[in-house]
Amino acid sequence: MKTVLVADDEPTIRALVNAILDGSGVRTLEAADGSEALDMARRYQPDLVLLDVVMPRMDGFTVCQRMKAEKSMARTPVLLLTALGQESDHQRALRAGAEGVVQKPFSPAVLRATVEGLLNGDQKD
C-alpha cells in the first residue's frame, strides 16, 4: 500500500485530504508543521508528500527544497497545496522542485486525480 504524507497546520484540511484519499488504496500520515513534515518524510519515506505552503516552523517551499536536496528523498514526488494565489508562488513552488501545485480551494476530484497521477507516475519509473 502506498503512503502519502499530508502536511498542513490546519487540522480541518488534513481531515479533508484524508477523506478525499479514503478509498483510493493509500495510507496517510499527518504532520502539523513544516519541521515535523521533514522529519516524518525522512523517517517513513512516503511515496508522495502533500505540503501546505504557509506552515509554522518551516514553510512548504523550504521543506520541498530540503527534501529534494537529500538523496533518500530527492525522487519522492511533492505536491504543494497553496492558498497564496499568486502566479509567482506557483513559479516558486516549481523552482523548489515540486512535481505539482494545487490551488486552494480545490475540488476533491481534482486533488484525488492529481495524487493518483503522481503515484502512478512514480510507479512507472
Partner: protein, 469 residues
C-alpha cells in the same frame, strides 16, 4: 503684481534719474538681496524635489555650503526615543556628505540651538563646541557656529548647523538665509513624512489583502471540499455528521474572519472614532467577567485593582472589547478551571524589558503612565520567539488541537486577528500593549493607557521626523 513684475520701492522718487535713485551701498545691497532670494528659491526647488531622506539631507547641506560659505554643515534631527537632536548628515571642508545617526561634533550646540527661540550663534572658545576637534579627523574645530532651529508648528524637529574655522561673524543676511533653509527643510521633512506614511499605508493594505486572501481560502477549501464529498459519495450517518459539523465550524470561522477583517480595515485606514467619556476600569472589568459567568467549565476569573487607579477618558465599548479579547484568549489557552486574574494599577505593570518585546513598532516607545490593566493566566504560555509575533496579523498559537494540551481544541480557531485589533484599539487611545510569558507557566497580556487620549491625525500614530530614515 504678476510674477515677473519688478519690486516697487515706495520710498524712492520715480522721477529721479535711475543712477541717482539709490545710494551705491543700497544698490549693492539690493543686488545681494536679489541674489540671495534667487539662491533661496533655487535651493527650495532642489530641496522639495528630494525623494529620499538622504537626498534631502545632501541637498540641504550643499545649499548651506554654497549660500552661507562655511567649513562645516550639519543637519541634526530629533531622535524619537529621547527627544535629543542627533546628527543625520555632516559635511566638513567640502568633503562628501556623511550620513548616519551619531552623537556628532556639535551635538551640545545643536541641543542648545534647538531650544533657542532664534538662530543661535556661538564663538570659540565656547564650552558648547568643545570636543569638536576629535570628531573632525584632526582638522581644527570651527571657531564660529550658527544653528537655525527646524520647527514645525510649535515642535522642534531639528537644527541646521553651519560652522566656520575663522572667527568671522555671520552677517544678519547669512543668519536669515540659514533660517530660510531650515524652514524649507522643515516643509520638505513634512512632505517626506506624508509620502512615507502613504507608502507604508499602501504596503500594509497590500499585505492585508494578500494575507486575507490566504486566510479566506483555508475555510473555503473545507467548505468546498466537504460539501462536494457529501454530494458525490454515500457515507454512513456518523461520517456525514462529522463532515457537516466541520462545514459549520469553518463557515462560522469564515464569518468571524470577514467581520474582523472589516474592523481591521477600518482601524488601518483611520476610519475609527473614539466615543470618549469618563471610564471606570473596574466597571469594565466586572462587565467582562460577567460575560463568562454561568459557564461552569470556564476558568475562575478574579479582579484585583491596586489603590489609586484613576478614572480616564476612553471609549467604553472599545476598551471592553480589548479586555474581553484578552480574557477570552486567557481562557482558551488555559486548562479548564485554571485561575485568571484581571489586574489594574496606576502605573505600568510590565517589566522594563517587556515593552521591547511588545507590538512591532513600539520599540523604544515611552509607556504612557496613566493607568494599566493586565490579564494573567496560568495556561500554556508562549515561547520567547513567539512573544514577538503574537501581535502580528493572523498569528495563532501553534497548539490548537486535541492533543491533551491546553489549546482550544473544542472550538473553532479564531481568525488570528483579535490581538491585532485589540492592540490597534489600545494604540488609538494613545496606549501600548505588551506581553510577558513563560512556556507552561502562563502569560500576562496588558496595556497601558494615558488618562487622556492624544489628538490623532488621520493615520494612527503620529510619525516623528526621525521615523523617515
Amino acid at each position: 503684481m504678476t510674477r515677473d513684475a519688478p519690486p516697487t520701492f515706495t520710498h524712492v522718487d520715480p522721477l529721479m534719474p535711475v543712477g541717482e535713485r539709490f545710494p551705491w551701498q543700497e544698490r549693492i545691497e539690493l543686488v545681494r538681496l536679489a541674489a540671495r532670494t534667487q539662491a533661496l528659491y533655487q535651493s527650495a526647488v532642489r530641496i522639495f524635489a528630494a525623494s529620499t531622506p538622504e537626498d534631502l539631507y545632501s541637498v540641504v547641506l550643499s545649499a548651506v555650503w554654497s549660500l552661507v560659505r562655511v567649513d562645516l554643515a550639519a543637519l541634526f534631527l530629533v531622535r524619537d526615543a529621547d527627544g535629543r537632536p542627533v546628527c543625520r548628515a555632516l559635511r566638513v571642508d567640502g568633503s562628501k556628505v556623511v550620513f548616519g545617526e551619531a552623537e556628532a561634533p556639535t551635538a551640545a550646540f545643536a541641543d542648545a540651538a534647538l531650544k533657542a527661540p532664534v538662530p543661535l550663534t556661538v564663538q570659540a572658545p565656547d564650552p558648547l563646541q568643545r570636543g569638536l576637534t576629535a570628531c573632525l579627523n584632526g582638522a581644527s574645530a570651527p571657531a564660529m557656529l550658527l544653528g537655525a532651529p527646524i520647527r514645525s508648528g510649535g515642535a522642534g524637529l531639528g537644527v541646521l548647523v553651519a560652522g566656520r574655522r575663522r572667527a568671522l561673524p555671520f552677517s544678519p543676511a547669512q543668519v536669515s538665509l540659514l533660517q530660510g533653509l531650515a524652514d524649507q527643510t522643515s516643509l520638505a521633512l513634512e512632505k517626506l513624512r506624508v509620502a512615507t506614511a502613504a507608502a507604508e499605508q499602501g504596503r500594509r493594505a497590500q499585505e492585508l489583502v494578500s494575507i486575507a486572501s490566504h486566510e479566506l481560502r483555508t475555510p473555503l477549501t473545507a467548505l468546498q471540499g466537504f460539501s462536494e464529498l457529501l454530494l458525490s459519495r454515500t457515507v454512513d450517518e456518523e461520517v456525514q455528521k462529522n463532515w457537516i459539523s466541520l462545514i459549520n465550524q469553518e463557515s462560522v470561522r469564515l464569518g468571524s474572519l470577514i467581520s474582523e477583517l472589516l474592523d481591521l480595515t477600518r482601524l488601518e485606514s483611520g476610519r475609527v472614532e473614539l466615543k470618549l467619556e469618563p471610564v471606570n476600569l473596574r466597571d469594565i472589568a466586572e462587565h467582562v467577567v460577567s460575560l463568562w459567568r454561568g459557564d461552569g467549565r470556564r476558568s475562575r476569573i478574579s479582579i484585583r485593582f491596586q489603590a489609586g487607579v484613576p478614572c480616564l477618558r476612553a471609549d467604553v465599548c472599545k476598551l471592553t472589547r480589548v479586555l474581553a479579547n484578552l480574557v477570552s484568549n486567557a481562557i482558551n489557552y488555559s486548562p479548564p478551571g485554571a485561575p485568571i486574574r484581571i489586574e489594574a494599577a496606576p502605573r505600568c505593570l510590565a517589566g522594563p524589558s517587556t515593552l521591547h518585546l511588545g507590538p512591532p513598532g513600539s520599540e523604544g516607545a515611552a509607556c504612557p503612565v496613566g493607568v494599566s490593566i493586565a490579564v494573567r493566566d496560568r495556561g500554556m504560555g508562549i515561547s520567547q520567539e513567539d512573544q514577538a509575533r503574537v501581535f502580528q496579523l493572523f498569528y495563532r498559537a501553534a497548539s490548537r488541537e486535541g492533543d491533551g494540551s491546553a489549546g482550544p481544541a473544542d472550538k473553532p480557531g479564531g481568525a488570528g486577528l483579535g490581538l491585532t485589533i485589540a492592540r490597534r484599539l489600545v494604540e488609538w487611545h494613545g496606549g501600548l500593549m505588551w506581553v510577558e510569558s513563560c512556556p507552561e507557566k502562563g502569560s500576562t497580556f496588558g496595556f497601558c493607557l494615558p488618562l487622556h487620549p492624544p489628538r490623532r491625525s488621520a493615520w494612527g500614530t503620529a510619525l516623528t521626523p526621525g521615523a523617515i530614515v
